[in-house]
Each structure stands twice: as structure tokens, then as C-alpha cells.
Symmetry: C2
């Protein structure tokens, strides 16, 4: 029996089992995604409780109707939309937006899947703590989706990805059973690590309905600097210097290429405070314990960097507001990219020591295809680059669309050859299923398929995301 | 077809496929475990390469012979021994003891499963880095077993458990296929997190043959203090004070009850430097960035603790040697326990805020059973306690053995009622299979069984560990 679409009879049977508030009209943002490459379809259901999620999944399992979990809808790889095949249930977690509890003395916050990241951050702050997951879409991304995609962001270098910030999950299985796994424990080896298996599985193995999140104490002082560096290699050496001095107090280390600032100017979104217009700069953030002043600490880093030829220019934020302004420049780069419109975008990661070789190699290979502009920026401390390719200024959007596939393969092949990942922080979704098949370890892929079959034997959970559905043809 | 024992014919077929060095006599340490509760049996094979591990697993899968992976043999829950049923292959990883590579600029070390933890630490140190996994058995525990059990130890509060220190694994599946997953990436969302699934699965889902391990920069300065506290609640408040000041620079926070020091004296293994003989003390370690001196930092902590009524006495290590001596006292407590001989030992974890209530509650419940002595100590910062129960001084070993089961249930029931885990850092092994069935979430257990069936359909990998083998009866 193959997957079945939502039918009027199925909808009727749901109406008998769920409160009216569950049934809503799908809005535009449920059917589109930020880059506009996929368009979805389906019946929107917005349950208000874990039990209602379970009811929906039991009904879908029985009728073999596919279910696409929908959280903040900010994903960039199409994991939140089913655009082909039968019309699914779009399972919106947005009504489950309660912070269930905060345990400041334990550094734990328990949030439902629909809590918006910024709201979780604010709840932590009200308790005198910090939830250190931070990314550009934090005003709309929700906890469920952030966990489903193991989101990254700007403080991963210190605090890890979303997976590292989750102590326990409550989840509903493909059979509609509830796993009550909201552990607040730091150490628990009672059985397999299914929490981390669900995190990053993009809604294909179960639906996360709530999570116990790890909070951290706020650093006593935070300092931010934008430092010009001669090259990505120098940036990495500067990172080593900073970590030798300050260890994990280095909580942000972002690489910005000159093109990033050029794009900010071109779109009117900002301008570099460095008048020397360096080819490369890094945004450094230190979060220091009591007794260490951020200003002098960054000055020492600047001086040592300069003495070693690793820093050529720089600006140290003299206030929190100046620090925030520097971060805002960094955070506006994705928006500038969107306004200019990329030919192809790549969310890649590399072993740190491969980065200095990769960037010029990839740029040279691209230039052989055409006179492209590359905006390479990202979370250097995590080896995570956004390597995005654009047409020359003045060229019409779409001029090079025919080359998109070739560019992507070129970049991804180079990344793979150096031991990198072509799905670093955004996940696989539907956009990179073929990439995973091309670059993924075949034994791992076959283990993944076995796990999917074991936990979702009827194949109803987000079909076609991460793994191709059985019978689905190659795109 | 059920599991088959090693037969002469099977052994002959292996001899044709593997070099002679693979075949060794099982030594005593392959057949026993530290607490002497289980005794194993089986044919020892010690492959020298991943390919040889794969050959063995293919042969075992074909003949349906069980395989018990054996690493350092230091596990405390019997996961390394098969004492019932058919004689298995004991798969020793000890010959695979090569550090394959160190990448200091990436903070990564790639080690084979048989590398002893102390050797991995030393290799990291030679590269100017630190591998922060640290525990009492580090001189004999090996990387494969440490990952298979997601080992904890003394620096988890800062650096996490073994799982948090592993970037990638190479593993051989139950079918004898090799997953080449030695990623050195900080961010990689290309597919399900099978790495973390294998870590902590105690050799029941695949055999880890090598790992890419996360190194960290060495803190610029390390300071150690032993502080007397009025109660476990005060200890937790002191922890919050320390973390508010120093955040993750708090890298050790061990609770020691007076009984711990009494036992050291009773066995001649040491004595507390605190002449006030406090009921409770904490061993605090700070690892500080450049610019912060450990001595003054600990003094400030002491003073603030004293002012708040959280610290009543203390000794600050004035040198590295004094700090090491304080740690040595802490590390000798398990040896003192062994010499005295516990009636029942419990490796438990609790939500931090439940600890102050749990300790007196559990002690009172025990006293109702008999005049026991309790040595409660452990990694307070992680909520991980070793709550071990002993007879009175002078009573013969074994006096209360008949009560062991009742004591264990009593303690574990109380832990479970407060949202804790009865398998915190030692794992489930064979000792706690029934506990997992009793306390584990039934939906999670059924997902675990589905995953086990998916990845090891013939049930040859460490049968009876973590999950009961199909058909096995309740003990």
C-alpha cells in the first residue's frame, strides 16, 4: 500500500477526534520556503497538545497519509514542504508554544516545539541565564525545527550545535505513541541515544513535541572586535592564538570576505567600519569570566596578532551597542545575498586545516566557468562556510541558472575531496538528497535506511526528506 | 536459527581467513570484571586491523556466532562478558592501539579503538593540546570501550561525556561492513546521527574501530581547592556562585561525604586535610584563561562562599603538586570502597535540584533496613552520584548480601521517582537490563528494540547487554 492523500473522508474522521482549533487554513508561509525553490501543498493541522499530535499520527499511520512537520518554516533545504506526490498533513507545531518550566538552579528550560527561539532566549534571560543558540532567523525559527535540523549559528564554537544544547526530548513516534523523554540529566547512559538520533533527523523518524534545553551562565563580560586578516590561513592562526589565551571564552569567530561588505554597500544594508577594505576580516567575540575585562583582552589579542603578522587592522567595540552593531553587519550579509540573488549557495564544512587550501581552489575552479562573484563567509571556528556564488553586478538574475547544477557539483566535489560536508548546518531536506547519495558513506546510508524502516515502517514521516522514498526516482 | 557457539569447524574457517597473530589465549582479565560479579567465556580473537574486524564479523554473522567486543575490560556493569548461553567470540580491540593522526591546528586526534586513554591524553599533550576525558581507570580503559559506554569522569561539567568529545567514528556493522565515518567536522548535518547512536550502545549495534576525538586548548592556569560545605544544598549553591563568576572555567566539582574520608583512613589510603572533619566537602577545580590567576580566583570564591554561609573551611592548593594530591584523595575513594566491600553500589544521576532532597531521603530509607554506612560521593556538577552502601565496620563481608536486591530497588525507586537515572555513567551492561525494563520509558524501549533489530538482525552483537536477547528469561 502506497502513501495516500488526505481525502474528505479522512478529514471527517479527524474532525471527530480533534478540537476545532486544530483545523486551520494553510497560509502562504506554510506552503513556501525562504528561497522560493519549493512549493508545498497539504492539509494544515495545528494541534495544541502532545496528545493531539499523537492522535493525528495514529490516524495518519492507519490511513498511511504522509505527515510533514512544520515548525518556524525558516529551513533553507525544503525539509518543511512536500511539493510532489500526494497531499500530506502539514503538522504545524506553532500552537504548542509554551515554556513549560524553567529551572535556573539546574540551568534547564523545558520548551514545547512551537516556542520561538527568541522567546526561549528571553525566558532564559528572565531567569538570569542564557540559551546560547543564536542565529539570524531566531525571531521566527521554533525549537522543534531547530532540533529537527540540529541548527548551528554563531556561538557553536563555544556551546555546540542545537544537539549539544538538548538534554531530553518528548516525541511522538510514527505509530502515534508518546516517548516521555524530557530528562534534565547531564549524565544518563540508560539505553541508546535516541534523543540525538531524532535531533537532526528532520522529522523523518518521529515528531519532537518538547525539549529540555541546556542553559548556561551568562559570561561576566563580552567583547567584540572586527579584525582585518591577510588570509583565511592567518584567520585560523589567529583563532589558535585566541584559544590558547582564552580557551572556550572564544565564543564567536566569523570569517567575512570583502565581497560580504561590498554586498552590504551594494544593497544599502551597511558598510565596513574598516576603511582599509581588507580582503578578509574576522568578527571575534569573547565571553569572559569575572576578573577579565573584554577591552584589554581584545587589545592583547590584537597586539599579538599584529606582532605575528596575523592582523593588519581592526576595530574594537567600545560598548555593548558597538558590539551589537558589528554583529548586525555580519547578520545582514544573508539578507544582502538574498537581495542580490545567488546563482548557487553552498552550506559546507571542512576540517579546519583544509580551509586555506579550499577557498582559492574553489574560486579558481569557478572562474574557469565564468566571471562569477563569490561571497565566502561563515562560522570559521566551526569550519562552516557559506560559499555563495553570484553573477557580476548588472547581470540579470537568472543569467547563469543553467550553470547552477554544474557549479554546485564543482563546489561539492571539492568539499568532499577534502573530507568536508555539503550539508553542514542547514541539513539535507529535499534539496540535498541526491548529494547525500553521491557523497555519503554507503554503509552509513544503508544503516540510515534500516533505522528509518525500523522507526517509520509505513514511511509516513516527512517522506522524501533526507532519504529518498522507496520507489521515488532520481531527480 | 538461534545463536551458535564457537565450534572447532568455525575456528578452522577463521584460521584460513585471519593471520595467526589474531588468535590468542584468553587471559584472566578477558574473563573477569573489576567487581567479580560476572565470569565470561569464549574464544579470544585480537584483530590487528579494521579489515580483520570486518572479516570476523562477517564470519560470525554467517555462522550466527555471538560477538562480545572487549576493550580495556574496566566496565562495572558486565557489558564486556558473556557468562551465559553459548560461548562467543571475545573480540579484543587491544592490538588496534595506534594513534593514527594528530591535527593540533584542528584540535583533533584520530585513535584506534584499542588506544589506552592515558596514551591518548599523552599524545594530545605532546601536541600542546589536551584530551579532557579523565577517569580513575584511565591507565587501562581504552577508547573503544570508553565510547561504547559513553564514559563520564571528572571533567564532564566542562567538556561533556565521551560522546561530546567524539567527532567521528569508524565502525564495523553486524554484517561485517565498514562505515568510514572518521569525520573531523564540527558541523555536519548530512544524515542521521549514527555516531551518537553507536556511542553508548555498548557494542550491541556495531563495533567502533577508531574515532576522531576532540582536543581542547589547555587552560592557562589550573587551581584546585577542597572546601567544606554545610550540606549538599550549600554545595549546589556554591556551584551556582562559581559558575556565575567563572562559567565553564569550573571544570571539576566533586562532592565528598565524610564517609569518603573515613574510608580512606580506615583503609590507610589517605586522610582529609580538613581537620574540622566536615560532613560534606567539595573538590573544586578551575581552569582559567590567561590573565586570571587561579589562587586569587579560588580565594574570592572561598570568601564569597564563606560570606554566604556556603563554605565553612577549606584548603587551597598552593602548587600543582598539592592540587594533584587533592585529586588523588578523591580518586582513591573507589579503591577504598573496593577494599571495604560494598553491599550495594549505585551509579545514579538526578536533576540537580533533586539532590538535596534525595540524599537524606535515601539514607533514612536505608536506615530503616539496617544500620548501614553510606558513602555518597561523585560528580555533583553533573548530578551524578555514587551512592554506595556498606555494612558497619567490623561486620563480615557478605553479612547483608541477602538484602542487596532490596537495597538496590529501594535506592533506584527513589531515584526514578525524582526523574533520575539508575545508569548514569557506567551504562547498562548486563547488570542493569532489568532496571532498564523497570524504569525505562516503554515507547523508548520499543524504539530501541526496533533499532537493534534493524542494525543487528541476527542478534550476534553483545547479546544480552542493554537489551534482553529475544527468548531470554527474566533474571
Amino acid at each position: 500500500m502506497t502513501l495516500q492523500p488526505v481525502t474528505p473522508a479522512f478529514l471527517d474522521s479527524l474532525r471527530g477526534r480533534l478540537p476545532p482549533a486544530t483545523f486551520r487554513e494553510a497560509e502562504e508561509h506554510h506552503l513556501t520556503e525562504p528561497r522560493g525553490r519549493f512549493r508545498g501543498t497539504g492539509l494544515l493541522l495545528a494541534p495544541g497538545s502532545t496528545e493531539e499530535v499523537a492522535t493525528i499520527l495514529r490516524a495518519c499511520a492507519e490511513a498511511r497519509v504522509p505527515v510533514v512537520p512544520h515548525s518556524g518554516g525558516t529551513g533553507l533545504v525544503g525539509g518543511q514542504l512536500l511539493s510532489e506526490g500526494v497531499a500530506p498533513v502539514i503538522l504545524s507545531l506553532s500552537r504548542m508554544d509554551r515554556v513549560r518550566a524553567v529551572f535556573p538552579e539546574e540551568n534547564v528550560l523545558v520548551a514545547e516545539a512551537g516556542v520561538i527561539l527568541a522567546d526561549a532566549q528571553a525566558a532564559a534571560e528572565r531567569a538570569g541565564r542564557m540559551f546560547p543558540l543564536s542565529l539570524a532567523s531566531e525571531g521566527s525559527a521554533r525549537i522543534g525545527g531547530l532540533l529537527a535540523t540540529n541548527a548551528g549559528g554563531t556561538q557553536v564554537i563555544r556551546y555546540g550545535n542545537a544537539r549539544a544544547l538538548c538534554l531530553g526530548v518528548e516525541a511522538v513516534t510514527a505509530r502515534g505513541e508518546v516517548w516521555h523523554g524530557l530528562s534534565r540529566l547531564r549524565k544518563d547512559n540508560a539505553g541508546y541515544d535516541l534523543r540525538d538520533l531524532l535531533i537532526g533527523s528532520e522529522g523523518t523518524l518521529a515528531v519532537i513535541t518538547a525539549a529540555a534545553l541546556q542553559l548556561v551562565p551568562r559570561p561576566a563580560g563580552v567583547g567584540v572586535a572586527l579584525l582585518a586578516v591577510p588570509s583565511p590561513r592567518a584567520a585560523l592562526e589567529l583563532l589558535a592564538v585566541a584559544q590558547a589565551r582564552f580557551a572556550d571564552a572564544v565564543q564567536g569567530f566569523e570569517l567575512i570576505g570583502r565581497m560580504g561588505f561590498d554586498f552590504l554597500e551594494e544593497t544599502g544594508l551597511g558598510a565596513s567600519p574598516l576603511t582599509s577594505r581588507p580582503d578578509w576580516s574576522v568578527l571575534v567575540e569573547l565571553g569572559l569570566p569575572e576578573g577579565l575585562e573584554p577591552g584589554p583582552a581584545l587589545e592583547r589579542l590584537f597586539e599579538e596578532g599584529e606582532a605575528r603578522g596575523l592582523v593588519t587592522d581592526g576595530v574594537l567595540a567600545a560598548s555593548e551597542a558597538q558590539g551589537a552593531a558589528l554583529w548586525e553587519l555580519r547578520e545582514r550579509i544573508p539578507e544582502a545575498n538574498r537581495r542580490i540573488g545567488s546563482v548557487s549557495s553552498h552550506d559546507i564544512s571542512l576540517p579546519l586545516s583544509e580551509i586555506p587550501g579550499f577557498i582559492p581552489e574553489a574560486e579558481a575552479a569557478l572562474m574557469a566557468l565564468g566571471p562569477f562573484r563569490v561571497n565566502c563567509f561563515g562560522h570559521l571556528g566551526d569550519g562552516n562556510l557559506h560559499f555563495n556564488v553570484f553573477a557580476q553586478k548588472g547581470e540579470a538574475r537568472g543569467t547563469h541558472d543553467a550553470l547552477r547544477r554544474r557549479i554546485k557539483e564543482l563546489v561539492h566535489d571539492l568539499v568532499h575531496a577534502r573530507g568536508g560536508s555539503v550539508a553542514a548546518e542547514h541539513g539535507v531536506g529535499r534539496l540535498k538528497v541526491a548529494d547525500l547519495e553521491r557523497y555519503g558513506d554507503p554503509v552509513k546510508l544503508s544503516m540510515m535506511r534500516a533505522v528509518k524502516q525500523a522507526l517509520d515502517p509505513r514511511g509516513i514521516l516527512n517522506p522524501g526528506a533526507v532519504l529518498r522514498s522507496p520507489g521515488e526516482t532520481t531527480t
